[in-house]
Symmetry: none
Subunit: 405 residues, 2 copies
């Protein structure tokens, strides 16, 4: 008989609620690449603890989306969670909301905000309002939240950082199918709000009400006297991670965006102030009540994005030093990887494959000497798309049953 | 949210018109395999220039179609151009036309011709007419072109090599859905032309007119007194390579078939007389006006097909000696590979994976010592289907933007 299981659905079918405790440790932007002149950050970092696990475990390389593609953070994490990023999308508005810890509800419509500056004719002179300070943007948000009244809907306006913010509309019958009002250039007026379908006309009118009142309220300001909107978006239908894999799942992260992504997928979440050490403390405390923990380390990516090779090396070494405490916390099976590469040479996310280490449970011992790109390309995991990592992590933890008679 | 991008469409979505100048250098039939007794052609060739690039770049192996499948030249090149050969096909008639430089137009129907010999009862005695010389076939083509008149259509009949030729019908309302007239056995008469659908009846009648007149015109000949037709085909709708990847694309080749394939995909083309050196001269001249160049070397495959190991080694070494001039021409990112393997031991195309070298731009330095099958299996590119090569080449050239928020 012909059947139609997919690589994703067979994993869900086989998942069972028993097995070892598993940790997915994501060092954001972990991967780098060697040039003829210099190694990658991982090859140069001193990582005695990860190297020991490399010898006892299996190494490989993953492509976050598919070969050649540089992923954003949303796409990168979806892949690591076993959701093919070519089939699922966390939209810009939803990510933005997640980023500031704003919990979107079904039916909400969210958009990204740029506070901008208009001249007397209403043309945009600065799309970023001189990158006005976050506190100033917060003041504008407060004013508009207090003064603007919409007919038949609530709204929330929150600052993000500098000129960026988040707008959320909440009410019956909203639709996200609206064009951006941001023309992406200066010297012209912002676009009028415009629904792309008849269903979006009501939302178009609400946005127009909001912008008209905002224009009047901000008219006296020298900078930040209007706002541009883009990426109208609503909560996405994401299959629940805990249901999909039959695990009690926890996310531990310092950055709100990663807490937010995890929450969208149905993880319990625990946010810490900042240091990786705090995350490990939380792990030790909360692991007894969970089967699966996703722990997110941001510093590796931030250093890579800043083009700071040495700081990325230091961030990796800081995590390495915490490995013994991670294992003491009761982690039985561990995957260490990144959501994408952020080579310091490029000071940006990149397309390069990302090192993976799988340790514990029934993971094979490759006997390789170091956790880095050079050894990972020799490892038994080979090179694979990120969506294949989670099934292997669950399998090593004894959480997938046999397929077929 | 559920979306439906594919591995191919995401690359098109991310492609941008800026980036480094890239060369895809295809040594036809490059791959071979080691036996217990002897190395492959690449392991035995002396290739100091490619070996230096191997150390500075990334190595891997590609499967042209999918594992175990031996590709023809059309399928092999489609894969290298990023078109999954399981989803796209350059038909036999179109390849044949490309092979002799005949430019098919939309609406044309092409078929492969075998000149054959019939006995007095009209049964086939030789499907290849004793492999009659090409000049003799050319004479037949000329005669038939001059004498045959069709009602409402033109036709073209051109010799290929020995008993092989090409038939093209041109006129309104043609349809390619016709059965072969070649029964593939001797001792029986050829099949009558037969349309498989009502739409193909008109074309069926034209082919019958043509064959009836040909039978009468060739009746006095001892060999080559009739023709068999197979692979009725028309121009395929191929997505344009330059549009798909936002590149100004040029193909440089000596053999008409590769010029033809490239032209079908929308490349500008430049045909040279023969030697690889001439191709490099053309590259130096034309690269300034292009973003992406495909350069095709035929000799490696011809030697492999002839079972001539040493001549294939020499062909590889000839290309290696040209590498410095290729780089001087201004190539910034380079992929070197074959469209399939043609091991001299087999004197035929084969299923073996094909060595790949990716150099320049943001390609990682694997530090491996030689460009051959043995080192390629250790490289960071791993083993992958050929359709994944082009995205990696574009990525290394900085021609793909970030996917997802």
């Amino acid at each position: 008989m012909s059947i139609t299981l997919t690589q994703e659905s067979v994993v869900t079918e086989m998942a069972r609620p028993e097995g070892k405790k598993a940790l997915l440790l994501v060092m954001d932007g972990l991967g780098g690449y060697r040039t003829a002149e210099r190694g990658s950050e991982l090859t140069e970092a001193s990582t005695p603890n990860l190297d020991r696990l490399a010898g006892e475990g299996s190494l490989g390389l993953h492509d976050p989306v598919t070969r050649g593609i540089t992923p954003g953070s949303g796409a990168g994490h979806l892949g690591l969670f076993g959701y093919d990023p070519l089939n699922y999308e966390i939209g810009r508005g939803a990510l933005s909301a997640a980023g500031i810890g704003f919990e979107l509800q079904p039916g909400d419509v969210a958009a990204r905000v740029n506070f901008c500056t208009l001249d007397a004719e209403g043309n945009i002179t600065d799309r970023r309002a001189g990158r006005l300070p976050t506190e100033e943007a917060a003041g504008i948000c407060e004013l508009l939240m207090r003064e603007i009244k919409l007919e038949g809907a609530e709204f929330f306006l929150q600052p993000e950082r500098e000129h960026r913010g988040l707008l959320v509309l909440r009410g019956p019958g909203l639709d996200r199918d609206l064009n951006d009002t941001d023309p992406q250039v200066t010297g012209v007026p912002p676009f009028e709000p415009q629904g792309r379908t008849p269903e979006a006309r009501g939302t178009e009118r609400l946005v127009k009400q909001l912008l008209d009142q905002a224009r009047a309220l901000l008219a006296g300001r020298e900078r930040g006297n209007f706002l541009l909107l883009r990426g109208f978006d609503s909560v996405k239908d994401m299959p629940s991670f805990p249901l999909r894999y039959h695990v009690k799942a926890l996310a531990i992260a310092a950055y709100p965006m990663y807490v937010g992504i995890s929450r969208l997928l149905g993880f319990e979440t625990h946010q810490v102030e900042g240091a990786a050490k705090e995350e490990v403390d939380a792990l030790a405390e909360l692991l007894p009540d969970h089967d699966f923990v996703f722990m997110h380390i941001k510093k590796t990516d931030s250093a890579g994005e800043d083009g700071d090779f040495d700081r990325k090396v230091a961030a990796i070494e800081e995590v390495d030093a915490l490995v013994p405490r991670i294992l003491e916390a009761g982690v039985e099976v561990l995957a260490v990887t990144g959501d994408h590469s952020t080579p310091a040479q490029m000071a940006a996310h990149s397309w390069h494959p990302v090192p993976v280490l799988l340790w514990g449970g029934t993971a094979a011992a490759d006997g390789l000497p170091k956790f880095d790109e050079v050894n990972c390309r020799q490892g038994s995991l080979g090179r694979f798309e990120a969506k294949h990592l989670l099934p292997q992590l669950l399998a090593a933890a004894g959480r997938l049953t046999k397929y077929g008679a």
